[in-house]
C-alpha cells in the first residue's frame, strides 16, 4: 500500500510532483508570513470537515453525523457550521482541507503524538527542539528572521537553538523603570534568563508600538490562551499586529487547546471550533493587505475514531484533518488523497486512514512559501526525512 501516493484528484487540484519544484532560494522572500496553529487534544477531522457525501459517513457517525447544517465545500466534503469565516475563505480559494493527514506516530497518545507533531522527527522523543525553530535556524543563515509564539508558555514547535520570542496579553511594562536594566545586568552571564528577558522586553516594546498590548486586550489579562471566541479573535488580531510590524516576526505559532472530545463532543466542538474560526478571522482581518503574503497551517496531533464511541464522543485515532489557509494559497480542492470511510479502508478497523504524511505538507509549504531548500528540509528541519517528499504547488 502506498501510504503517501497522490491520487488523480489531488493532481487535478493543481499539485505538482516534487521533482518539478522550482529551485528555491535560500533567503526568506520579504513579507512572507507563516503561522502554525496547533489544535491540541486530537481535533476530530470528521467534524472539522465532515465528508457528508461519503456513503459510509452517516452510519459510522450515528448521532454525531452532520447534515444540511454543514457548510458545503464540494460533492464530498463540508465544513463544520462553526467554521463560517474559514468557509468564506474557502469559497474565495483561500482555504483548503487536507482530510487524511498524520504524523509518523501511531501510538494514539496525546503527548507522544504532540511531541512528534512539534519536533518534526520520525519518532517520539528523538529531539528536544521544534521543527519551526529549526526552520528559523535554516532561514537565518541568509538574513534576519524572527519568530514568535502566542501564549504564556513556549510551545515545543518553537523551542530550540534559534531565538524565538513569545507574547501573551498582560499589563504594559513600565519602560521608564530601572528594574529591566538592572536585571539585564544581573543576567549577563545567564544563558537561559539573559537572552529570554532581552527578547521579552523587545517584544513588549513592539507590542506597545503595534497596540497589541493596548486597551482592546485589557480585558484579556487573566484569560488563558485560546479560551473562548472573543479571546481567540483578539489573540489573532494581536498576532497580526506583530506580523505586520516593521522588523516584526515572520513565523509564528499559536495553540488552541481542548479538542479531546471523548464525551458529548457536539457542544465541546461547537465551542472549540468557534474559537479556531475566530482566531483565523482575527488574523485575516488584522493582517489586512498582508494576508495575501500569508499562509496559515492548522494541525492537530491525531484524528479520532471514525465511529462515534459509547459516550457521544470519539476516542483517539489516526488520520486527521489539517487546514491550509491564507491569501498566498493557490485555489484548489482537497489536499492529498481521501481514503474514504469504507470499512476496509479504515486504519486498524477504527480510524481514518493516514493517507498523507503531515511532513510532506509542511515541507511543501516551507519550500514554496518560505523558500527553504530541500537539503535543509530533509535533514535539519525534518530529520532523516529524505524519503518524505515535499508536497509542493500549494502556494
Amino acid at each position: 500500500m502506498t501510504a503517501f501516493s497522490l491520487n488523480r484528484r489531488a493532481l487535478a487540484a493543481g499539485l505538482a510532483l516534487p521533482f518539478l519544484a522550482r529551485a528555491a532560494d535560500a533567503a526568506l522572500p520579504p513579507n512572507r508570513k507563516f503561522v502554525v496553529v496547533i489544535c491540541r487534544g486530537g481535533m476530530d477531522g470528521l467534524s472539522v470537515a465532515p465528508p457528508v457525501g461519503d456513503p459510509d459517513y452517516r452510519a459510522l457517525r450515528g448521532p454525531l453525523a452532520m447534515g444540511d447544517e454543514a457548510l458545503k465545500l464540494d460533492g464530498t466534503f463540508a465544513l463544520h457550521p462553526q467554521l463560517a469565516s474559514i468557509h468564506a475563505l474557502a469559497k474565495a480559494g483561500q482555504a483548503r482541507i487536507a482530510p487524511a493527514v498524520a504524523s509518523p506516530d501511531r501510538a494514539r497518545s496525546h503527548f507522544e503524538a504532540q511531541d512528534v507533531l512539534e519536533t518534526g522527527a520520525g519518532g517520539v522523543y528523538a529531539t528536544s527542539s521544534g521543527w519551526l525553530n529549526r526552520a528559523v535556524g535554516a532561514l537565518s543563515a541568509a538574513g534576519r528572521v524572527e519568530a514568535i509564539s502566542v501564549g504564556a508558555t513556549a510551545p515545543l514547535i518553537l523551542r530550540g537553538p534559534a531565538p524565538a520570542a513569545s507574547w501573551s496579553p498582560g499589563r504594559a511594562v513600565d519602560t521608564a523603570a530601572r528594574l529591566p536594566t538592572l536585571l539585564q545586568d544581573l543576567y549577563r552571564d545567564d544563558p537561559l534568563l539573559g537572552p529570554a528577558l532581552a527578547r521579552g522586553l523587545a517584544t513588549e516594546t513592539m507590542a506597545q508600538e503595534t497596540g497589541a498590548g493596548g486597551p482592546q486586550m485589557g480585558g484579556l489579562r487573566a484569560a488563558p490562551a485560546g479560551q473562548g471566541r472573543e479571546v481567540a479573535r483578539a489573540m489573532g488580531e494581536a498576532l497580526a499586529g506583530f506580523l505586520k510590524a516593521p522588523g516584526g516576526p515572520q513565523l509564528a505559532a499559536v495553540s488552541v487547546d481542548g479538542f479531546d472530545s471523548h464525551a458529548n463532543q457536539t457542544g465541546l466542538l461547537n465551542n472549540r471550533l468557534a474559537a479556531l474560526d475566530a482566531l483565523v478571522d482575527g488574523l485575516h482581518t488584522g493582517l489586512g493587505p498582508a494576508w495575501k503574503d500569508t499562509v496559515v497551517l492548522a494541525v492537530t496531533e491525531f484524528g479520532r475514531t471514525a465511529r462515534a464511541n459509547g459516550t457521544g464522543g470519539t476516542d483517539h485515532g489516526t488520520g486527521a484533518t489539517a487546514l491550509v489557509l491564507g491569501g498566498a494559497l493557490k485555489p484548489g480542492g482537497i489536499i492529498g488523497d481521501w481514503p474514504t470511510l469504507r470499512p476496509q479502508a479504515l486504519f486498524e478497523n477504527r480510524d481514518v486512514y493516514p493517507a498523507l504524511d503531515l511532513r510532506s505538507l509542511e515541507k511543501g509549504l516551507l519550500a514554496d512559501h518560505l523558500g527553504l531548500e530541500r537539503r535543509a528540509l530533509d535533514a535539519a528541519v525534518f530529520p532523516d526525512s529524505a524519503g518524505v517528499q515535499a508536497l509542493t504547488g500549494l502556494v
Partner: protein
C-alpha cells in the same frame, strides 16, 4: 557561594526540596538538613487545606443543582445557556439564577485555590508540601472541565494528600476511583457495550432522570489509556491498543450515583453496566467478575517494575534536574521495588541520595513555585478576600492557572516551556507588584536576601541588591535573581 558545606546543604534543603525559605527557616535547618527534611515524612500524609467544610459529594451536588437551574432556564425559554461553562464565556445579568449558580461553583474553586496557596505559603513542612504537589500533578484532575472545577480541591484532600507517604498502590487506587478523576477522564459515562445496562438503554432510549436527553451507551477508553500512559507504566511501558480497550472494559461499572439513587457513596459500582467476561491486560488474565476485576489490574500495574522506573525518573526530574543523573533514578527505583512502592522509603532515598545535593541549582521554578516562594520570602501571606482574585490572576498571567492544567499530563516540569521570553517579563511584573506592596516594610533587604537564599546567594546578586535605590527595588531584584528563579 561561601560558607561551610552544611550551610549550603541547609539552603538546598529549604529551597530545592522545600518550597523556598521563610524567615529563619534556613537557620533552623542548618543543624541537620537531612534530618530536617526527614522529620516531614509522616505516615498520615500531607496536611490538607480547608474547602469551606465541603467534600466532593457536596460539591458535586452543587454542580448538579447548577445544571438543573440551567436546564430549567432553557425549558422556560429564558437565558438559554447552551455553551459549556468556561472561563471567558458571556457575561450574564446579575439576577440570572444560572449565572449566579455558575458563579457559586466558580467561587468554590477560587476559595480552594486560595486555601491551598495559603497552606503552601505558611507551612513549616515545605518538603512535605512539595511532595504532595508532585503527586497532585502526577494524578492531574483539571478544572478545565466545568463539572470538575469544584472537585479538584476535595480530590487533592481526599485522594492524594492522605496517601503521599503510604503505598503507591493505595494512592493509585484512591486517585483513580475518586469522583473527580471519574468525571475528568470520562469514566463516569463508560458502559460495557455488551452489558445489561447497554442492552436496556438501547431498547428504550431511556431519558436521564434530570430530563437530559438519553445518553448513548458504550465504552470510553480515556481513563484506561491515561492510567497506563501517565499514572503507572508510562509510554513504552509495554502496552498496546488492545490492552487499553481491555482495561477500559474492566473499568466499566465504576461510576457516580445518580441524584435519585439510594446510595450513601457518590462513587458506585453498577454490576449491570459492567462488561461481562474475563479480560487480558498486558498478557495477564483477569477472571470475569465485578469491581475487583479492575482493582486487580490496578494492583498489578502499581507493582509493575515499569511503573517504578517511570515514576522514579519523574521524581528525580522534579526534584533535581530536567535531565537527572541516571544513578539517582536507579537508587529511587531500587528502594521502590525493595519496599513494595512505599513512598516514605522513596522520599528518604531521595534525601539520602548524594546526587540530589549538587551545589548548582538545575531546576527553573514553575510559576506556582515562583509565586509561593516569593510569598514565603516576603511574608506576603495571602489572606483576606482581595487575595483570591490576585493569586488567580497572577498565576494565570504566568501561564499556570490554578487547578487548570491543560491536559491530564499535568503541568510541565522542565525549564523550556516556562522560560519563554514573555514569561520572564511577566515574572518581573509580578515581582514589581509584590515588592511595591510589601517592600516598604522590609527593614533590611540585604538581611532578607541572606535569609531567603542563605549560602546560595551569589556575591553578584548580593551587590546588586545592596545598590538598589529603594526597598521595593531591592526586593524585586531579590525575587528576580538567577538563584531565586532556580532551586
Amino acid at each position: 557561594m561561601a560558607g561551610n558545606p552544611r550551610e549550603l546543604d541547609a539552603a538546598i534543603a529549604v529551597t530545592r526540596f522545600g518550597l523556598g525559605a521563610r524567615a529563619g527557616e534556613i537557620e533552623s535547618a542548618a543543624g541537620d538538613p537531612r534530618g530536617w527534611l526527614k522529620a516531614q515524612i509522616r505516615t498520615q500524609g500531607a496536611e490538607t487545606f480547608p474547602t469551606q467544610g465541603e467534600d466532593s459529594a457536596r460539591r458535586f451536588a452543587e454542580f448538579r443543582e447548577y445544571r438543573q437551574e440551567r436546564l430549567a432556564a432553557r425549558r422556560t425559554g429564558g437565558q438559554a445557556d447552551a455553551a459549556p461553562a468556561r472561563d471567558g464565556g458571556d457575561m450574564r445579568p446579575a439576577d440570572d439564577p444560572v449565572a449566579a449558580a455558575r458563579r457559586f461553583v466558580r467561587q468554590n474553586a477560587a476559595g480552594d485555590v486560595l486555601a491551598r496557596t495559603r497552606l503552601a505559603t505558611v507551612t513549616d513542612a515545605g518538603f512535605c508540601e512539595r511532595w504532595a504537589l508532585f503527586w497532585a500533578n502526577h494524578f492531574t484532575a483539571s478544572a478545565t472541565k466545568a463539572q470538575v472545577s469544584g472537585l479538584v480541591g476535595p480530590f487533592e484532600n481526599e485522594a492524594i494528600r492522605p496517601h503521599v507517604f503510604g503505598r503507591f498502590a493505595d494512592l493509585l487506587a484512591a486517585a483513580e476511583t475518586h469522583p473527580a478523576m471519574l468525571l475528568y477522564l470520562d469514566q463516569a459515562q463508560s458502559i460495557g457495550p455488551n452489558s445489561r445496562a447497554a442492552q436496556l438503554q438501547g431498547r428504550r432510549g431511556a431519558r436521564q432522570p434530570d430530563g437530559a436527553p438519553p445518553r448513548p451507551a458504550g465504552l470510553n477508553e480515556n481513563l484506561a489509556r491515561e492510567i497506563l500512559e501517565l499514572h503507572t507504566v508510562g509510554i513504552g511501558g509495554g502496552y498496546a491498543q488492545a490492552d487499553v480497550t481491555e482495561f477500559a472494559r474492566a473499568l466499566t461499572g465504576l461510576g457516580l450515583a445518580r441524584p435519585n439513587e439510594p446510595q450513601t457513596q457518590l462513587v458506585v459500582f453498577r454490576q449491570p453496566a459492567h462488561e461481562p467476561g474475563a479480560r487480558t491486560v498486558m498478557g495477564r488474565p483477569y477472571p470475569a467478575g465485578g469491581r475487583e476485576q479492575a482493582g486487580a489490574i490496578l494492583a498489578d500495574l502499581a507493582a509493575a517494575p515499569q511503573t517504578a522506573r517511570f515514576v522514579c525518573a519523574k521524581i528525580a526530574r522534579h526534584f533535581v534536574a530536567d535531565d537527572p543523573p541516571p544513578a539517582l533514578a536507579a537508587r529511587l527505583e531500587k528502594t521502590w521495588l525493595g519496599s513494595g512502592g512505599d513512598l516514605a522509603r522513596v522520599a528518604e532515598a531521595l534525601i539520602d541520595a548524594p546526587e540530589a545535593w549538587a551545589p548548582q541549582p538545575a531546576k527553573f521554578k514553575t510559576p506556582y513555585e515562583f509565586v509561593i516562594s516569593s510569598y514565603r520570602a516576603t511574608g506576603g501571606a495571602p489572606q483576606g478576600p482581595r487575595w483570591g482574585p490576585q493569586v488567580n490572576q497572577a498565576l494565570s498571567g504566568l501561564g499556570q492557572r490554578p487547578f487548570g492544567a491543560p491536559s491530564p499530563k499535568g503541568w510541565p516540569d522542565e525549564a523550556a516551556p516556562w522560560a519563554a521570553s514573555d514569561a520572564l517579563v511577566k515574572r518581573m511584573q509580578f515581582a514589581q507588584g509584590l515588592a511595591a506592596a510589601v517592600g516598604p516594610d522590609v527593614q533590611d533587604p540585604n538581611a532578607l536576601a541572606a535569609a531567603t537564599l542563605g549560602a546560595r546567594l551569589s556575591p553578584t546578586a548580593a551587590a546588586a541588591i545592596r545598590r538598589a535605590e529603594s526597598r521595593p527595588e531591592a526586593v524585586a531584584l531579590l525575587l528576580m535573581t538567577p538563584e531565586f528563579q532556580r532551586r
